[in-house]
Protein backbone atom coordinates (compact mmCIF):
# COMPACT_ATOMS: atom_id res chain seq x y z
CA UNK A 1 0.00 0.00 0.00
CA UNK A 2 2.99 2.26 -0.09
CA UNK A 3 4.51 3.41 -3.34
CA UNK A 4 1.81 5.11 -5.31
CA UNK A 5 2.83 7.23 -8.21
CA UNK A 6 6.31 8.61 -7.91
CA UNK A 7 7.07 9.19 -4.24
CA UNK A 8 7.12 6.74 -1.41
CA UNK A 9 4.00 7.33 0.61
CA UNK A 10 3.52 5.37 3.79
CA UNK A 11 0.31 5.72 5.73
CA UNK A 12 0.97 3.73 8.90
CA UNK A 13 -2.07 5.14 10.67
CA UNK A 14 -4.61 4.43 7.95
CA UNK A 15 -5.09 0.94 9.33
CA UNK A 16 -6.67 2.45 12.43
CA UNK A 17 -9.36 4.42 10.60
CA UNK A 18 -12.87 3.48 11.63
CA UNK A 19 -15.07 3.24 8.57
CA UNK A 20 -18.50 1.87 7.87
CA UNK A 21 -18.59 -1.72 6.75
CA UNK A 22 -21.16 -1.09 4.04
CA UNK A 23 -20.83 1.92 1.78
CA UNK A 24 -19.65 5.37 2.74
CA UNK A 25 -21.06 7.86 5.10
CA UNK A 26 -21.00 9.06 8.63
CA UNK A 27 -20.25 6.72 11.49
CA UNK A 28 -23.25 6.75 13.80
CA UNK A 29 -23.20 4.91 17.09
CA UNK A 30 -25.14 1.99 15.59
CA UNK A 31 -23.34 1.83 12.23
CA UNK A 32 -21.71 -1.56 11.63
CA UNK A 33 -18.07 -0.68 11.03
CA UNK A 34 -14.79 -2.51 10.67
CA UNK A 35 -14.57 -2.24 14.45
CA UNK A 36 -17.85 -4.12 14.67
CA UNK A 37 -16.60 -6.79 12.29
CA UNK A 38 -13.42 -7.50 14.23
CA UNK A 39 -15.12 -7.32 17.60
CA UNK A 40 -17.60 -9.91 16.40
CA UNK A 41 -14.80 -12.02 14.96
CA UNK A 42 -13.20 -11.96 18.39
CA UNK A 43 -16.49 -13.12 19.88
CA UNK A 44 -16.71 -15.90 17.28
CA UNK A 45 -13.10 -16.96 17.88
CA UNK A 46 -13.65 -17.09 21.64
CA UNK A 47 -16.84 -19.04 21.04
CA UNK A 48 -14.97 -21.48 18.80
CA UNK A 49 -12.28 -22.11 21.38
CA UNK A 50 -14.24 -22.03 24.61
CA UNK A 51 -17.57 -23.48 23.49
CA UNK A 52 -17.04 -25.52 20.32
CA UNK A 53 -13.58 -26.62 21.43
CA UNK A 54 -14.92 -28.03 24.67
CA UNK A 55 -18.14 -29.52 23.27
CA UNK A 56 -17.09 -33.11 23.91
CA UNK A 57 -16.45 -32.54 27.63
CA UNK A 58 -13.85 -35.26 27.47
CA UNK A 59 -12.07 -36.38 30.60
CA UNK A 60 -9.06 -36.89 28.36
CA UNK A 61 -9.18 -33.58 26.49
CA UNK A 62 -8.69 -32.90 22.81
CA UNK A 63 -6.18 -30.25 21.77
CA UNK A 64 -8.66 -27.38 21.66
CA UNK A 65 -10.19 -28.46 24.94
CA UNK A 66 -6.71 -28.57 26.46
CA UNK A 67 -6.07 -25.00 25.41
CA UNK A 68 -9.43 -23.86 26.79
CA UNK A 69 -8.75 -25.66 30.06
CA UNK A 70 -5.25 -24.21 30.19
CA UNK A 71 -6.59 -20.66 29.84
CA UNK A 72 -9.29 -21.39 32.38
CA UNK A 73 -6.79 -22.74 34.90
CA UNK A 74 -4.32 -19.96 34.22
CA UNK A 75 -6.80 -17.14 34.80
CA UNK A 76 -8.48 -18.94 37.68
CA UNK A 77 -5.16 -19.33 39.46
CA UNK A 78 -4.24 -15.75 38.71
CA UNK A 79 -7.46 -14.43 40.22
CA UNK A 80 -7.10 -16.69 43.24
CA UNK A 81 -3.43 -15.89 43.81
CA UNK A 82 -3.55 -12.15 43.18
CA UNK A 83 -7.03 -11.10 44.26
CA UNK A 84 -7.43 -13.68 46.98
CA UNK A 85 -10.11 -16.24 47.69
CA UNK A 86 -12.88 -13.64 47.74
CA UNK A 87 -11.91 -12.54 44.25
CA UNK A 88 -12.80 -15.90 42.67
CA UNK A 89 -16.43 -14.71 42.51
CA UNK A 90 -15.37 -12.20 39.88
CA UNK A 91 -13.45 -14.76 37.85
CA UNK A 92 -15.96 -14.71 34.92
CA UNK A 93 -15.49 -10.97 34.50
CA UNK A 94 -11.71 -11.25 34.54
CA UNK A 95 -11.92 -14.17 32.15
CA UNK A 96 -14.08 -12.11 29.78
CA UNK A 97 -11.57 -9.28 29.86
CA UNK A 98 -8.58 -11.53 29.30
CA UNK A 99 -10.10 -13.50 26.45
CA UNK A 100 -11.35 -10.35 24.76
CA UNK A 101 -8.02 -8.54 24.97
CA UNK A 102 -6.05 -11.64 23.98
CA UNK A 103 -8.19 -12.44 20.95
CA UNK A 104 -8.51 -8.83 19.84
CA UNK A 105 -4.71 -8.49 20.01
CA UNK A 106 -4.07 -11.73 18.16
CA UNK A 107 -6.74 -11.15 15.51
CA UNK A 108 -5.21 -7.73 14.95
CA UNK A 109 -2.02 -9.42 13.83
CA UNK A 110 -3.73 -10.95 10.82
CA UNK A 111 -2.64 -8.91 7.80
CA UNK A 112 -5.31 -6.42 6.59
CA UNK A 113 -7.17 -6.82 9.86
CA UNK A 114 -8.29 -4.10 12.24
CA UNK A 115 -6.91 -4.06 15.79
CA UNK A 116 -9.74 -3.05 18.07
CA UNK A 117 -7.51 -2.89 21.14
CA UNK A 118 -5.28 -0.31 19.47
CA UNK A 119 -8.03 2.24 19.99
CA UNK A 120 -8.10 4.24 23.16
CA UNK A 121 -11.89 4.28 22.97
CA UNK A 122 -11.94 0.51 23.44
CA UNK A 123 -9.19 0.18 26.05
CA UNK A 124 -10.40 3.21 28.00
CA UNK A 125 -13.85 1.69 28.15
CA UNK A 126 -12.37 -1.54 29.48
CA UNK A 127 -10.14 0.27 31.97
CA UNK A 128 -12.93 2.56 33.15
CA UNK A 129 -15.21 -0.42 33.57
CA UNK A 130 -12.55 -2.07 35.75
CA UNK A 131 -11.90 1.16 37.64
CA UNK A 132 -15.55 1.94 38.32
CA UNK A 133 -16.37 -1.68 39.04
CA UNK A 134 -13.54 -2.06 41.54
CA UNK A 135 -14.23 1.28 43.22
CA UNK A 136 -17.95 0.66 43.59
CA UNK A 137 -17.31 -2.93 44.70
CA UNK A 138 -14.81 -1.74 47.31
CA UNK A 139 -17.17 0.91 48.64
CA UNK A 140 -20.01 -1.59 48.73
CA UNK A 141 -18.00 -4.28 50.48
CA UNK A 142 -15.94 -2.17 52.86
CA UNK A 143 -17.84 1.10 53.03
CA UNK A 144 -15.68 3.90 54.40
CA UNK A 145 -13.05 1.29 55.22
CA UNK A 146 -12.21 1.21 51.54
CA UNK A 147 -10.90 4.76 51.85
CA UNK A 148 -8.44 3.59 54.49
CA UNK A 149 -6.43 2.36 51.53
CA UNK A 150 -5.34 5.96 50.99
CA UNK A 151 -4.44 6.51 54.61
CA UNK A 152 -1.13 4.68 54.98
CA UNK A 153 -1.25 3.66 58.63
CA UNK A 154 2.27 2.25 58.57
CA UNK A 155 3.79 5.65 57.72
CA UNK A 156 4.61 8.38 60.26
CA UNK A 157 1.58 10.50 61.05
CA UNK A 158 3.09 13.67 59.57
CA UNK A 159 3.64 11.99 56.24
CA UNK A 160 0.19 10.45 55.97
CA UNK A 161 -1.68 13.42 54.44
CA UNK A 162 1.00 13.80 51.77
CA UNK A 163 0.97 10.09 51.10
CA UNK A 164 -2.82 10.20 50.97
CA UNK A 165 -2.66 12.80 48.21
CA UNK A 166 -0.11 10.73 46.30
CA UNK A 167 -2.11 7.55 46.74
CA UNK A 168 -5.27 9.31 45.62
CA UNK A 169 -3.59 10.65 42.48
CA UNK A 170 -2.06 7.28 41.67
CA UNK A 171 -5.45 5.67 42.19
CA UNK A 172 -7.14 7.96 39.70
CA UNK A 173 -4.29 7.63 37.21
CA UNK A 174 -4.80 3.87 37.17
CA UNK A 175 -7.44 3.73 34.41
CA UNK A 176 -5.34 6.07 32.28
CA UNK A 177 -2.18 3.96 32.50
CA UNK A 178 -4.25 0.80 32.30
CA UNK A 179 -5.79 1.80 28.98
CA UNK A 180 -2.95 3.77 27.37
CA UNK A 181 -0.49 0.96 28.05
CA UNK A 182 -2.53 -1.51 26.03
CA UNK A 183 -3.58 0.83 23.21
CA UNK A 184 -0.14 2.38 22.96
CA UNK A 185 1.67 -0.95 22.73
CA UNK A 186 -0.66 -2.28 20.08
CA UNK A 187 -0.78 0.93 18.04
CA UNK A 188 2.96 1.47 18.05
CA UNK A 189 3.67 -2.10 17.04
CA UNK A 190 1.18 -2.05 14.19
CA UNK A 191 2.34 1.34 12.98
CA UNK A 192 5.95 0.12 12.89
CA UNK A 193 4.87 -2.99 11.01
CA UNK A 194 3.13 -0.79 8.47
CA UNK A 195 6.14 1.46 8.06
CA UNK A 196 8.36 -1.51 7.31
CA UNK A 197 5.72 -2.88 4.97
CA UNK A 198 5.93 0.43 3.09
CA UNK A 199 9.69 0.16 2.83
CA UNK A 200 9.36 -3.39 1.56
CA UNK A 201 8.09 -2.02 -1.73
CA UNK A 202 11.44 -0.37 -2.37
CA UNK A 203 13.57 -3.01 -4.06
CA UNK A 204 16.80 -1.82 -2.54
CA UNK A 205 15.82 -2.23 1.10
CA UNK A 206 13.04 -4.75 0.79
CA UNK A 207 15.05 -7.77 2.08
CA UNK A 208 15.97 -5.81 5.19
CA UNK A 209 12.44 -4.49 5.55
CA UNK A 210 10.91 -7.95 5.21
CA UNK A 211 13.40 -9.38 7.70
CA UNK A 212 12.60 -6.60 10.14
CA UNK A 213 8.88 -7.16 9.63
CA UNK A 214 9.27 -10.84 10.43
CA UNK A 215 11.19 -10.04 13.59
CA UNK A 216 8.74 -7.34 14.66
CA UNK A 217 5.82 -9.62 13.89
CA UNK A 218 7.27 -12.18 16.28
CA UNK A 219 7.78 -9.45 18.84
CA UNK A 220 4.21 -8.24 18.34
CA UNK A 221 2.93 -11.76 18.89
CA UNK A 222 4.72 -11.74 22.22
CA UNK A 223 3.48 -8.24 23.01
CA UNK A 224 -0.11 -9.24 22.22
CA UNK A 225 -0.06 -12.07 24.73
CA UNK A 226 1.94 -10.18 27.34
CA UNK A 227 -0.28 -7.12 27.16
CA UNK A 228 -3.37 -9.28 27.57
CA UNK A 229 -1.69 -10.86 30.57
CA UNK A 230 -0.63 -7.49 32.00
CA UNK A 231 -4.08 -6.02 31.54
CA UNK A 232 -5.62 -8.98 33.32
CA UNK A 233 -3.18 -9.19 36.19
CA UNK A 234 -3.53 -5.45 36.84
CA UNK A 235 -7.27 -5.96 36.93
CA UNK A 236 -6.70 -8.64 39.54
CA UNK A 237 -4.43 -6.36 41.53
CA UNK A 238 -7.06 -3.62 41.51
CA UNK A 239 -9.70 -6.19 42.41
CA UNK A 240 -7.63 -7.18 45.41
CA UNK A 241 -7.95 -3.63 46.78
CA UNK A 242 -11.70 -4.01 46.73
CA UNK A 243 -12.08 -7.56 48.03
CA UNK A 244 -8.80 -8.40 49.75
CA UNK A 245 -7.97 -7.83 53.39
CA UNK A 246 -4.58 -6.21 53.13
CA UNK A 247 -3.61 -3.37 50.84
CA UNK A 248 -0.28 -2.90 49.23
Amino acid sequence: MAAEGGGLQIHPMDQFIVKPLFGEGAVHWYTPTNVTLWLMLAVVAIGLLMVVGTRRRAVVPSRSQSVAELIYGFIHNMVEDVAGHDGVKYFPYVMTLFLFVLFANLLGLIPMSFTTTSHVAVTATLALAVFLGVTLLGLARKGVGFLAMFWVSSAPLALRPILAVIELISYFVRPVSHSIRLAGNLMAGHAVLKVFAGFASVALVSPVAIGAMTAIYALELLVSVIQAYVFTILTCVYLKDAVGDAHH
Binding site: F16, A26, L39, I46, V51, Y72, L99, M187
Partner: protein, 176 residues
Protein backbone atom coordinates in the same frame (compact mmCIF):
# COMPACT_ATOMS: atom_id res chain seq x y z
CA UNK B 1 6.76 10.18 14.46
CA UNK B 2 3.70 8.08 13.92
CA UNK B 3 1.52 11.06 14.55
CA UNK B 4 3.35 13.10 11.98
CA UNK B 5 3.05 10.37 9.36
CA UNK B 6 -0.64 10.00 10.15
CA UNK B 7 -1.15 13.71 10.09
CA UNK B 8 0.52 13.99 6.75
CA UNK B 9 -1.60 11.21 5.32
CA UNK B 10 -4.97 12.51 6.39
CA UNK B 11 -6.59 15.50 7.96
CA UNK B 12 -7.96 13.99 11.17
CA UNK B 13 -4.58 12.97 12.57
CA UNK B 14 -4.54 9.88 14.74
CA UNK B 15 -7.72 7.92 14.13
CA UNK B 16 -7.57 7.01 17.80
CA UNK B 17 -8.34 10.62 18.66
CA UNK B 18 -11.28 10.93 16.30
CA UNK B 19 -13.95 11.31 18.93
CA UNK B 20 -16.81 11.02 16.45
CA UNK B 21 -16.22 7.26 16.27
CA UNK B 22 -16.07 6.74 20.05
CA UNK B 23 -19.78 6.21 20.48
CA UNK B 24 -19.78 3.59 17.77
CA UNK B 25 -16.74 1.76 19.15
CA UNK B 26 -17.98 1.80 22.72
CA UNK B 27 -21.42 0.59 21.71
CA UNK B 28 -20.09 -2.36 19.74
CA UNK B 29 -17.47 -3.10 22.38
CA UNK B 30 -20.17 -3.37 25.01
CA UNK B 31 -22.16 -5.65 22.71
CA UNK B 32 -19.10 -7.84 22.17
CA UNK B 33 -18.22 -7.96 25.87
CA UNK B 34 -21.77 -8.88 26.83
CA UNK B 35 -21.75 -11.60 24.17
CA UNK B 36 -18.44 -12.98 25.43
CA UNK B 37 -19.62 -12.78 29.03
CA UNK B 38 -22.81 -14.65 28.23
CA UNK B 39 -20.95 -17.26 26.18
CA UNK B 40 -18.56 -17.83 29.04
CA UNK B 41 -20.94 -17.79 31.99
CA UNK B 42 -23.78 -19.66 30.30
CA UNK B 43 -21.81 -22.35 28.50
CA UNK B 44 -18.02 -22.38 28.56
CA UNK B 45 -17.00 -21.79 32.17
CA UNK B 46 -19.51 -24.15 33.85
CA UNK B 47 -18.64 -26.79 31.27
CA UNK B 48 -14.88 -26.47 31.73
CA UNK B 49 -15.28 -26.26 35.49
CA UNK B 50 -17.37 -29.43 35.46
CA UNK B 51 -14.85 -31.21 33.25
CA UNK B 52 -11.97 -30.19 35.49
CA UNK B 53 -13.87 -31.27 38.60
CA UNK B 54 -14.79 -34.55 36.96
CA UNK B 55 -11.20 -35.15 35.93
CA UNK B 56 -10.05 -34.31 39.44
CA UNK B 57 -12.61 -36.76 40.79
CA UNK B 58 -11.58 -39.44 38.31
CA UNK B 59 -7.93 -38.99 39.10
CA UNK B 60 -8.63 -39.04 42.83
CA UNK B 61 -10.76 -42.18 42.42
CA UNK B 62 -8.10 -43.87 40.34
CA UNK B 63 -5.46 -42.97 42.87
CA UNK B 64 -7.65 -44.30 45.67
CA UNK B 65 -8.26 -47.49 43.69
CA UNK B 66 -4.54 -47.82 43.06
CA UNK B 67 -3.89 -47.30 46.75
CA UNK B 68 -6.47 -49.95 47.58
CA UNK B 69 -4.96 -52.41 45.12
CA UNK B 70 -1.51 -51.70 46.49
CA UNK B 71 -2.74 -52.39 49.99
CA UNK B 72 -4.33 -55.62 48.86
CA UNK B 73 -1.15 -56.62 47.10
CA UNK B 74 0.92 -55.96 50.19
CA UNK B 75 -1.61 -57.87 52.29
CA UNK B 76 -1.35 -60.79 49.88
CA UNK B 77 2.39 -60.60 50.07
CA UNK B 78 2.25 -60.57 53.85
CA UNK B 79 -0.04 -63.62 53.78
CA UNK B 80 2.33 -65.34 51.41
CA UNK B 81 5.29 -64.54 53.60
CA UNK B 82 3.41 -65.79 56.64
CA UNK B 83 2.49 -69.01 54.86
CA UNK B 84 6.09 -69.42 53.81
CA UNK B 85 7.30 -68.85 57.36
CA UNK B 86 4.68 -71.30 58.67
CA UNK B 87 5.73 -73.89 56.13
CA UNK B 88 9.36 -73.41 57.10
CA UNK B 89 8.52 -73.76 60.78
CA UNK B 90 6.44 -76.86 60.03
CA UNK B 91 9.28 -78.35 57.99
CA UNK B 92 11.75 -77.59 60.77
CA UNK B 93 9.41 -79.19 63.30
CA UNK B 94 8.99 -82.30 61.16
CA UNK B 95 12.75 -82.54 60.70
CA UNK B 96 13.30 -82.17 64.41
CA UNK B 97 10.66 -84.81 65.14
CA UNK B 98 12.18 -87.20 62.63
CA UNK B 99 15.60 -86.57 64.09
CA UNK B 100 14.36 -87.21 67.59
CA UNK B 101 12.61 -90.39 66.46
CA UNK B 102 15.69 -91.60 64.67
CA UNK B 103 17.75 -90.75 67.72
CA UNK B 104 15.37 -92.65 69.95
CA UNK B 105 15.37 -95.65 67.59
CA UNK B 106 19.12 -95.56 67.47
CA UNK B 107 19.40 -95.34 71.24
CA UNK B 108 16.95 -98.23 71.65
CA UNK B 109 18.81 -100.31 69.08
CA UNK B 110 22.10 -99.50 70.76
CA UNK B 111 20.70 -100.38 74.15
CA UNK B 112 19.34 -103.65 72.79
CA UNK B 113 22.61 -104.42 71.16
CA UNK B 114 24.44 -103.52 74.35
CA UNK B 115 22.13 -105.72 76.37
CA UNK B 116 22.55 -108.57 73.88
CA UNK B 117 26.30 -108.16 73.90
CA UNK B 118 26.50 -108.05 77.65
CA UNK B 119 24.21 -111.07 77.91
CA UNK B 120 26.38 -112.98 75.50
CA UNK B 121 29.49 -111.85 77.32
CA UNK B 122 28.02 -113.02 80.61
CA UNK B 123 27.08 -116.33 79.03
CA UNK B 124 30.57 -116.72 77.64
CA UNK B 125 32.09 -115.83 80.98
CA UNK B 126 29.86 -118.31 82.69
CA UNK B 127 30.88 -120.98 80.20
CA UNK B 128 34.53 -120.04 80.61
CA UNK B 129 34.14 -120.22 84.36
CA UNK B 130 32.44 -123.60 84.01
CA UNK B 131 35.15 -124.84 81.72
CA UNK B 132 37.74 -123.47 84.10
CA UNK B 133 36.05 -125.10 87.08
CA UNK B 134 35.77 -128.39 85.29
CA UNK B 135 39.40 -128.08 84.24
CA UNK B 136 40.40 -127.43 87.85
CA UNK B 137 38.39 -130.40 88.93
CA UNK B 138 40.08 -132.52 86.26
CA UNK B 139 43.44 -131.20 87.37
CA UNK B 140 42.57 -132.04 90.97
CA UNK B 141 41.43 -135.52 89.97
CA UNK B 142 44.51 -136.11 87.88
CA UNK B 143 46.69 -134.76 90.68
CA UNK B 144 44.92 -136.92 93.20
CA UNK B 145 45.20 -140.03 91.01
CA UNK B 146 48.78 -139.27 90.18
CA UNK B 147 49.54 -138.67 93.84
CA UNK B 148 47.81 -141.98 94.77
CA UNK B 149 49.77 -143.81 92.11
CA UNK B 150 53.00 -142.18 93.30
CA UNK B 151 52.28 -143.05 96.86
CA UNK B 152 51.45 -146.68 95.80
CA UNK B 153 54.62 -146.93 93.77
CA UNK B 154 56.67 -145.63 96.70
CA UNK B 155 55.12 -148.38 98.77
CA UNK B 156 52.64 -146.57 100.81
CA UNK B 157 48.99 -146.73 100.94
CA UNK B 158 47.40 -143.47 100.44
CA UNK B 159 44.56 -142.46 102.53
CA UNK B 160 42.01 -140.95 100.19
CA UNK B 161 41.03 -138.17 102.57
CA UNK B 162 44.65 -137.17 103.21
CA UNK B 163 45.31 -137.04 99.51
CA UNK B 164 42.30 -135.00 98.95
CA UNK B 165 43.36 -132.50 101.57
CA UNK B 166 46.95 -132.38 100.35
CA UNK B 167 45.96 -131.80 96.72
CA UNK B 168 43.35 -129.21 97.80
CA UNK B 169 45.97 -127.37 99.86
CA UNK B 170 48.43 -127.34 96.98
CA UNK B 171 45.96 -126.13 94.51
CA UNK B 172 44.81 -123.36 96.76
CA UNK B 173 48.36 -122.26 97.42
CA UNK B 174 49.32 -122.41 93.78
CA UNK B 175 46.62 -120.91 91.65
CA UNK B 176 46.47 -121.79 87.99
Amino acid sequence: MATEAGGAAQSVGMPQLDFTTYGNQIFWLVVALVAIYLLLTRIALPRIGAVLAERKGTVANDLAAAEDLKERASAAEAAYQKALADARAEAARIIAEAKAEIQADLARALAEADADISARAAESERRIAEIRASAMQSVAEVARDTAAELVAVLGGSADAAALEAAVGARMKGQPS
